[in-house]
Subunit: 329 residues, 2 copies
DNA sequence: CTGAAAGCGCTTACAG
DNA sequence: CTGAAAGCGCTTACAG
């Protein structure tokens, strides 16, 4: 049985759709009696207005599109959750898409969101992809980038200063006396590039240069074993390891322990995100907290501001990160 | 600048919207030349068809609504991710809503999804809420319940047999020799009720009865300290603890360790879900794997079947759970 | 206070 | 091969 339409409700009450519409929207230019009758009939039929028809008329959908790599990542899950909480308060719904670190899927997702005429978009771009940016600009849709920035457009952005994140994590290991520090990085994203720049910067501050054998960029979904075996094969091997994020540090820890390495004695570990479980790991993980909830909240705030009226200049909101020293380093 | 419409494209090419539509949809009844011209113009203008207008005509939106309590829960994040992967393969998009364990928000979410005329709904119900079920039934929309079932409707369901989950977890502790086993449960959901039934059943198999002082149901968001302090105050206190899920076991572990309890010597711990980080906790957690990805996948499969044609009878898909014994018990 | 009419952006029979 | 027309479900000026 197809859902009831406004016409169904109107017909049943013996009024026009115009009157029914007015009654349901609580306009004051309907008689009290009609209003009551229409509303009761609507409830009886389980009538819910068709948002598409409303949206076609009003031009807005009260919906925000969100594209992240995957909500399997607790980082994005937390960010999206905070985003959603903020946006719901203003009556916006969220359509969530995962790009799975694949630029083609990301482009497809953005197109789909545009087709659905979402009122705005929050995007954690996989990579610098001119086509995506072009679509966004051509369609004149308000959007903000989160967590990762793009290089070719001067877009609004909310996230960490990833160069600083990389620098702080590496500097911490240097201060602990480590000189052979490997970096198990991620690939493609601006975050990966920036954290690498920070890693380099920290080393330079100690007059150290990068040993390419100590750096590995993981493809999306690539297991950590290959990289770790390669690091451990080096002569001399690294004494400390900087992981791109906690979700990479977790299997790294598992592998190292299986191989009989003690953490931090045989290998110190630092990573990024401060996911909720990191304080209870064995050993508790030293990590840089990127304050994902704040990023989500600020992104929502910025997007809402853009929805209410275009911004003069593009804004970059930098959410400062915090080093949390625990027992893995 | 508003997004380009079909009329914009058509006008620019000097054809009717009918022809433009045919060209863009690759109908064979357009001349090759026109098709080319229209498609080029569309690309030039960054034209993307308005899904709402299409949906108004076709009556379907290629969108599935998903309502879970929160994707902050890695359990739901994993389930939703697997759901999304399956559904995307069939060309469906997902609209995600969080109910935050609040029946009122859940009802609102379902209404919103209905308004958006999603083609189907996947719902992890907070509680048994006749209004929600009524809306679903009245609108005749295909839906499946996941992880939690409802009592008043005979709806399609995919999830664990939670009574069995509760029984297995408790039985494991009993086999380990524990006789004073506390249960730190969640509240409201069918899962909570069923796991409690399983807990009771396991105790009965050992001719033990339930000690009410050993049972606590956590409100959504309630910290674990109160419950734990209450358990530890008992005389005699429990020697083992069954937690509703890993996300409850995590802070429990933290608290117990802070209080100087050794796990499992002073207090054994078992929980449910086998979240990815549990193997690396200190100590590694004994937990019942509910196979969340399988639940998501099966739910997608069942919903797709319903979309393609109504089912004869309601189906209950029981995804068997697996006890994973590690070092916390 | 109420209704007939037009239109939001699309698609598809129906003519030509 | 192409266009004029009708309609998907709603809302809002415009008359009455």
């Amino acid at each position: 049985m197809a859902p009831a339409t406004l016409r169904d409700v109107a017909r049943r009450c013996g009024v026009s759709t115009a009157t029914a519409s007015r009654a349901l929207n609580n306009r004051h230019d309907v008689s009290e009696a009609t209003r009551q009758r229409v509303q009761e009939t609507a409830t009886l039929l389980g009538y819910v207005p068709n948002t598409m028809a409303q949206g076609l008329w009003s031009g807005c959908t009260k919906t925000i599109g969100v594209v992240v790599t995957t909500i399997l990542s607790p980082f994005y899950a937390a960010m999206v959750d905070s985003l959603e909480t903020q946006l719901r308060q203003e009556g916006y719904n969220i359509v969530l898409c995962s790009s799975l670190e694949d630029p083609a899927i990301e482009l497809q997702a953005v197109k789909t969101l545009l087709q659905q005429r979402v009122d705005g978009i929050v995007l954690a771009p996989v990579a610098d992809q001119p086509e995506v940016e072009e679509f966004l600009e051509k369609n004149g849709i308000p959007y903000v980038l989160v967590a990762r920035s793009a290089l070719h457009v001067d877009a609004d952005f909310v996230g960490s200063d990833d160069r600083e994140v990389g620098r702080v994590a590496t500097a911490h290991l240097l201060e602990k006396g480590h000189r052979r520090i490997a970096f198990l990085n991620s690939k493609q994203s601006s975050s990966a590039k920036d954290r690498f720049a920070g890693y380099r910067l920290a080393l330079e501050e100690y007059s150290l240069s990068i040993n390419p054998d100590y750096v590995w960029s993981l493809d999306p979904g690539e297991p950590v074993e290959g990289a770790l075996r390669s690091f451990l094969r080096q002569d001399p091997p690294p004494t400390a390891l900087f992981c791109f994020c906690d979700e990479i540090a977790l299997p790294t820890m598992e592998f190292l322990k299986e191989q009989g390495y003690r953490i931090p004695d045989d290998m110190a570990l630092v990573s990024v995100d401060n996911l909720h479980y990191t304080s209870q790991l064995n050993p508790a993980l030293t990590t840089v907290d990127t304050h994902k909830e704040v990023i989500g909240e600020q992104a929502a705030r910025l997007l809402l501001a853009k929805l209410h009226g275009p911004l003069r200049a593009s804004r970059k909101v930098n959410v400062p990160a915090t080093l949390i020293v625990r027992h893995s380093s």
